[in-house]
């Protein structure tokens, strides 16, 4: 369709303008459980429908841009970087980001060390910092292979790691959440903090890629 839609909308031909039907498949057990729990919470006056909606809206508003802001600050302010590596929860709070009730551990990529994050048991992810995790992060394939053959997984993400760099995999199995502090790309000395933040993308903060220069 996209290749044939450069003709404006003066169609000389017939095609069906009826919107396609919704393709909501049959519900899974978890969808029924979620709906049942939500309806009970509302019925018993524990939460209102609007409170649930507002919380979803808050969660959807969290994006990797918040993490990128933290990374750019750490790149430009060595004292902030030190605080971030010592206590990620407190240092992100300085920028108005609330990680709790979970705790944030920030791990730094250097010339000698590359870090990547996985949760083999489920899909623990720093949602309060980066938003919802990507689908691949939750896949059984990533969760199994990131600990078993992490270098092969990195290659599939286009990240070639030489053997003189130690790879540290972090299995996020309990109460900590992890963010990778990527290396600042070369030739970015002239960039402002907000220009640097624009270079930082989600997957680099999970550690499956590196940040490229402009």
């Amino acid at each position: 369709m996209t290749t044939t839609h450069d003709h404006g909308h003066e169609h000389g031909h017939d095609h069906d303008h009826t919107p396609p039907p919704d393709h909501d498949g049959p519900w899974s057990d978890f969808q029924y459980m979620e709906a049942a729990l939500r309806e009970l919470l509302i019925e018993k006056d524990i939460l209102t429908a609007d409170e649930i909606r507002a919380q979803l809206e808050r969660m959807d508003a969290i994006s990797p841009a918040m993490g990128a802001k933290v990374v750019a600050r750490a790149w430009t302010d060595p004292a902030y970087k030190e605080r971030l590596l010592a206590d990620g929860t407190a240092a992100t709070r300085e920028l108005g980001i609330e990680i709790e009730p979970t705790h944030l551990v920030v791990v730094e990529n250097t010339a000698e060390v590359h870090n990547m994050v996985v949760c083999t048991l489920c899909s623990c992810y720093p949602r309060n910092l980066l938003g919802l995790p990507p689908d691949w992060y939750k896949s059984a394939s990533y969760r199994g292979r990131a600990v078993r053959e992490p270098r092969a997984v990195l290659r599939e993400f286009g990240t070639e790691l030489s053997d003189d760099i130690a790879l540290r995999v972090h299995d996020s199995t309990a109460d900590m959440r992890y963010m990778v502090l990527p290396r600042r790309p070369e030739r970015t000395e002239g960039l402002s903090e907000s220009e640097l933040a624009e270079l930082v993308h989600r997957d680099a903060m999970v550690g499956v890629t590196v940040v490229q220069g402009p």
């Binding site: 083999t120 270098r151 130690a166 309990a174 109460d175």
Partner: protein
Amino acid sequence: MTAKYQPGERVRVRTDRPSGHCRTPHYCRGHVGEVERICGDFRNPETLAYALDGLPKQPLYRVRFSQADLWPDYDGPKTDTLDIEIYEHWLEPPA
């Protein structure tokens, strides 16, 4: 609770196979690693999962393993490592 192990100390993950919920992956059970840091005291997920209070809190550690120790056929450099969070009751001194 006072943490029993200190950063840098070698620890072994117990080889128990309890039924029910736990957050100690099978792949690290029985392996020896080194305490990377103490994360603090946290409620025990093994009872929390069943709507109990998770008390007493357990010290939680990050334990670093050598990948070559975890996987006999690991094909990366010897310097590659894996860090996992383990609750104290899953740890014992290395034999």
